[in-house]
Each structure stands twice: as C-alpha cells, then as structure tokens.
C-alpha cells in the first residue's frame, strides 16, 4: 500500500512536470529572465546592436532623471493620466448607472459603448487622425458648420495632448463601464427599494448609496486606468510620434525611441525599470484596496 502511494506521488510529480514545462520555459525566457536582465543592463552603457558594454553604475539613472526630454515625458504622462482617468471614470460610471435600468435596446447600448475596447488601437488612431485632420476632417468640418474655426488638433502643441486624451477616453470607456455594471449588480435590490420608499431623489441615491457602495469597483477601475495610462504608446506612435515639439512625448514612447531608434539599450533599460517600479507601487496599492474590501 505504502509503495503504491509513493508511486502515485511520483507519477503525479512526473505528470505535473511534463504539463508545466512548456508554459514554464516560455515564462522564464520571456518574463523572468528579461525583467532581471533589464535591471542588469540598466547599470551598463550598452548598445542594442553590439554585445560590448561598460559598467557605469547608477549613471544611467542619474542621467535619466536630469534629462529634460525624460522630465518632459514624465510630466506629459502625468498630464495624460490626469486628463484620462477622472473624466473617464466619471463618464463610465454615469453610463453604467443609466444602463443599469430596464431599458429598450440595452444590449445595443452596451455593445456600442464597448466596441472601441475590442478594436485595435492602431486602427482607431488612424481613424481619429483622419477625423481630426484640420482641413477636411470630420471634427473641423462640423465645427465650421457652427462657425467655429477648429485648431490643427494634432499639429498644434497646445492641442495635441488633448486630442490623444480624447481618443483614449473614448477607447477605454466601455472597459470601466463593464466593471461598474458588474459592481452595480451587487448592490442588493432592497437597498434601492427602501430608498424609493423613503422618497429619495435620483441624485441623492447616486450620492449617498451608489457611489459609497461602489467604492471597491471605482478604486479598482481607477488604479487599472492609471496603470494603463502610464503605458500609453500606440496612439502616440500613430497620431503624433511624440510631437509636435515633444508635447506628447510620454515615458513608453521615450523608452521605445531610446531602445529601438537610438539603440541605447542600457539607458532605455533604466527607463524600463523606473516605469516598472512606478507600476509596481500602483499595483501594490491596488492589492491593498482589494484586500481591505474582503
């Protein structure tokens, strides 16, 4: 009996190893090894194209923090995040609250709000570039009909970031909406019913019942949106290329340029680690939030 159990245990270990190996090899090669390798590289002056490198200690980090373009990129990323997250969260919460009624065409509305989430960032960025085209694009043509001369949305440094922010709010609205709709389903019906009996107005209900009870989903969506905002890249690459005059230069675009256009792999790895640590901090805050609810 004893040896049979042992055999069964060994068989399980063998099976488990076989089952885990394909996943584990890829996971180690393209997640675990690279994250430590980029930390290592960040202490070297290295070129992406050659294997020679010299140790420079913390110089990459020091240069990075003093570099005006990187400072601009951090500032712009913060600007972008502040532009996208609060408005995006507020709008999607409003839509979710409205959609959480018995309505005709409810599925149609949900699909309409969610469609941008599933479509490719590159394609919608191209479409928005065309919409925002200053002379013949949709937005300025519509503004012209109202007698307003629209700006060069993507060519004017004063408007380029706003344009990217608008696109991103539109693109991610549906994602947060789904999180909020799921949260609203969890508010017990009796709470709303008793509020109705007490003659509470819709606004009071939103202010004193819905928002406090939705604290969890709102916190979660806020952190996820912030993390996503710090990783913004595709729309910048397609719509502005970081310009005009670095007005839309953000951290990941800066990383991409340093690594894959200027081949400064050591320096770019330092950028990668600064980004990683920032995201790590946000993720830990998020885990705290989730734990404090349960």
């Amino acid at each position: 009996m004893h040896s049979r159990w042992k055999r069964l245990g060994n068989e399980q270990t063998r099976t488990a190893l076989l089952a885990l190996i394909p996943s584990f090899v890829i996971f180690c090669a393209f997640t675990i090894y690279p994250i430590f390798c980029s930390l290592y590289l960040s202490f070297f002056n290295a070129s992406l194209l050659s294997s020679t490198r010299t140790y420079v200690g913390f110089n990459n980090y020091i240069n990075l923090l003093q570099n005006p373009t990187f400072q601009k990129a951090v500032k712009n990323t913060v600007h972008y995040t502040i532009g996208v997250v609060p408005i995006g969260i507020a709008l999607s919460l409003c839509i979710a609250v409205l959609l959480n009624n018995k309505l005709r065409f409810r599925d149609f509305f949900r699909a309409a709000f969610f469609a941008p989430v599933v479509t490719s960032m590159v394609a919608v960025s191209i479409v928005w570039t065309w919409m925002l085209e200053p002379n013949y694009g949709l937005v300025n043509s519509l503004l012209a009909k109202l007698g307003i001369a629209g700006p060069g949305w993507l060519t004017d440094p004063a408007w380029a970031m706003t344009s990217v922010i608008l696109l991103s709010i539109w693109k991610n609205l549906g994602f947060n909406m789904v999180i909020f709709l799921a949260g609203l389903q969890n508010i017990p019906a009796e709470v709303n019913e008793s509020a109705d009996l007490d003659g509470v107005t819709s606004f009071q209900r939103l202010r004193y019942i819905t928002i406090p009870m939705m604290r969890g989903p709102i916190g979660f969506a806020t952190i996820v949106s912030m993390i996503k905002s710090m990783q913004v890249f595709g729309q910048i690459y397609v719509m502005t290329g970081g310009g005009p005059a670095n007005s839309t230069m953000v951290v990941v675009y800066y990383l991409y340029q340093q690594a894959f256009e200027f081949y400064r792999s050591g320096y770019a790895s330092a950028v990668a680690w600064v980004l990683f640590v920032a995201i790590l901090v946000l993720t830990l805050v998020q885990n705290r939030l989730i734990k404090s609810q349960t």
Binding site: A19, S23, T31
Partner: protein, 271 residues
C-alpha cells in the same frame, strides 16, 4: 417613471451616437473615391459606393499579405496559449508536486510586470536566436503566459473533483483525465481565454513593430501604422485598411458579446 426612462434613453442614445461616430466615419470614408475626401464641403455619404480604396489597399499596398500574417500569428498564439495554459493550469489546480505553491506565487506576481519592462532583453534574446523577421520571432514570447495558466487554474478549481476521481479509478492516466473529462467540461473558460488571446495577438503592436524589418513579414497593425507617415495620405485606402484590421474582431465581438464582456471583466485583473 415613464418620463424618466425616456430621458435616460435619450441621453444614452446621444452618447451612443458619439461613441459610434468614428466607426461610421471610418466605414463611410472607406467607400469614397480617393479625391472625394478633399473637399471643404464635407459630406457623410460617399457620392457613389466605391471599392477603389479596398482595391488599392489589397493590390497597390500589401495589405493582403499583412492580413494573412496577422491571421496566422494570432491563430498560432491562440492555439499554443490554450494548450500551455490548460496544461499548466491543471498542474497547479490538481497535481501535487514539490514547489507548486512557490512557482504559482511567482506566476501570480509576474502578472504585474508590464511588457515594456521586458521588451529589450526579449528582443535581444530573439535576435540571438536568429528569429528576427520570422513567424517564430513574432509568436514565441506569447505561446504561454502567467495569465492563461492562472485563469485555467481558477476554472479547474471550481469544478467538482469527483468526476476526475471516477476517471482515475477507471484506470485513466492524469493526461487522459484532463483530455477526456476535464477539458470537454471547460469549454466556457477555454472560449474566454481564446477570445482574449486572439484579440490581444491581433491588436498587438509594439512587439511586431520592433521584431520585423522585412515588409513581407509585417502584421496588419504595423502595416497600418506605417501608412500614417505618408506625406499625401490616401484616406479612403487607409480607412479601407482600418476596416479590414478591425472587422474580424468586431464580427467576433458581435457574435459572442456576452463572452467577450465576461472574459474582459474577468481579465480586469490583467490590464
């Protein structure tokens, strides 16, 4: 109550129009003639429905090739992810082996590593393997991932173990139990993972952008992004290409709306 509902409907309807406007503009522009878009007197509808934009995208531009590359790459990644995730998820959920909890913890923690933080060493690794400009280079890093393994593990744990025990008593090996009993019951989870993975692979941009230099190996997203650099943009052609780059996902979404939304709500843990 009725009046309130009408107001809500009207507000949502207005919102929905704004949300769908870029899609309408994309589709309508794609059917316009090349020079028709350059008019100060903007019109929504094309004067005649012209397929010349699509024709140029598929003949003068290599979008057919890009599209085939995208389909192939996304299918390879999806098939491999389902296999590796189901296997790893099953090992984590049901099999006892030394170090299981530790490895699973590492998988869990790794989900918070952003792809941009690993992209440089991954690129160097792929180049050392001589896989630049190849399908292998495009797909290799995505053939498995911690998220898929985590998702399948959670699903397997939610299933009753008694069915599997019955299989073991009947003399099945663990692999047979997985293939014949567990996986047929896991179709919803596998479908969600497949949707999510296919969408991610189809829409992925940064990795194919850096790993491909040869035009013939480009994916739709990369090919599309390069169009933008043209000095005299051919908007109807670019809109036609955008329609082709979004259509497969939109169709899949319309057919499986519920699963899409559920899987993305679940994947809220990933971002």
């Amino acid at each position: 109550m009725q009046a309130q509902r009408l107001v809500i409907f009207f507000v949502l309807f207005t919102f929905a129009i704004f949300m769908l406007m870029p899609f309408a503009w994309m589709v309508l522009s794609s059917f316009k003639e090349a020079d028709e878009v350059f008019t100060y007197d903007m019109t929504w509808l094309p004067s005649t429905i012209s397929f010349s934009g699509y024709y140029r995208a598929l003949t003068e531009q290599p979008f057919l090739k890009y599209g085939l590359n995208s389909v192939l790459v996304s299918l390879i990644i999806t098939a491999a992810q389902l296999t590796t995730s189901a296997l790893a998820g099953y090992a984590f959920a049901r099999l006892n082996f030394p170090g299981r909890n530790l490895i699973f913890m590492v998988y869990l923690s790794a989900m918070m590593i952003p792809s941009q933080a690993t992209v440089i060493p991954s690129y160097i690794l792929i180049r050392k393997m001589g896989l630049i400009d190849s399908y292998a280079g495009l797909t290799l890093p995505f053939l498995a991932g911690p998220f898929g393994a985590f998702m399948m593990r959670q699903f397997f744990l939610s299933m009753p173990e008694s069915l599997e025990e019955a299989g073991i008593i009947d003399g099945c090996s663990r692999f047979q139990v997985l293939c014949k009993i567990v996986l047929p019951l896991s179709k919803p989870a596998l479908a969600s993972l497949a949707l999510f993975t296919f969408m991610g692979a189809w829409n992925d941009f940064m990795w194919p952008l850096i790993i491909i230099n040869r035009d013939a190996m480009r994916t739709l997203q990369v090919g599309l992004s390069l169009m933008r650099a043209d000095l005299y943009p051919d908007w109807p052609m670019m809109m036609a290409a955008s329609v082709m780059a979004t259509l497969p996902i939109i169709i899949a979404f319309l057919l499986a709306q519920k699963q899409f939304i559920q899987s993305l709500a679940f994947t809220g843990v990933k971002y």
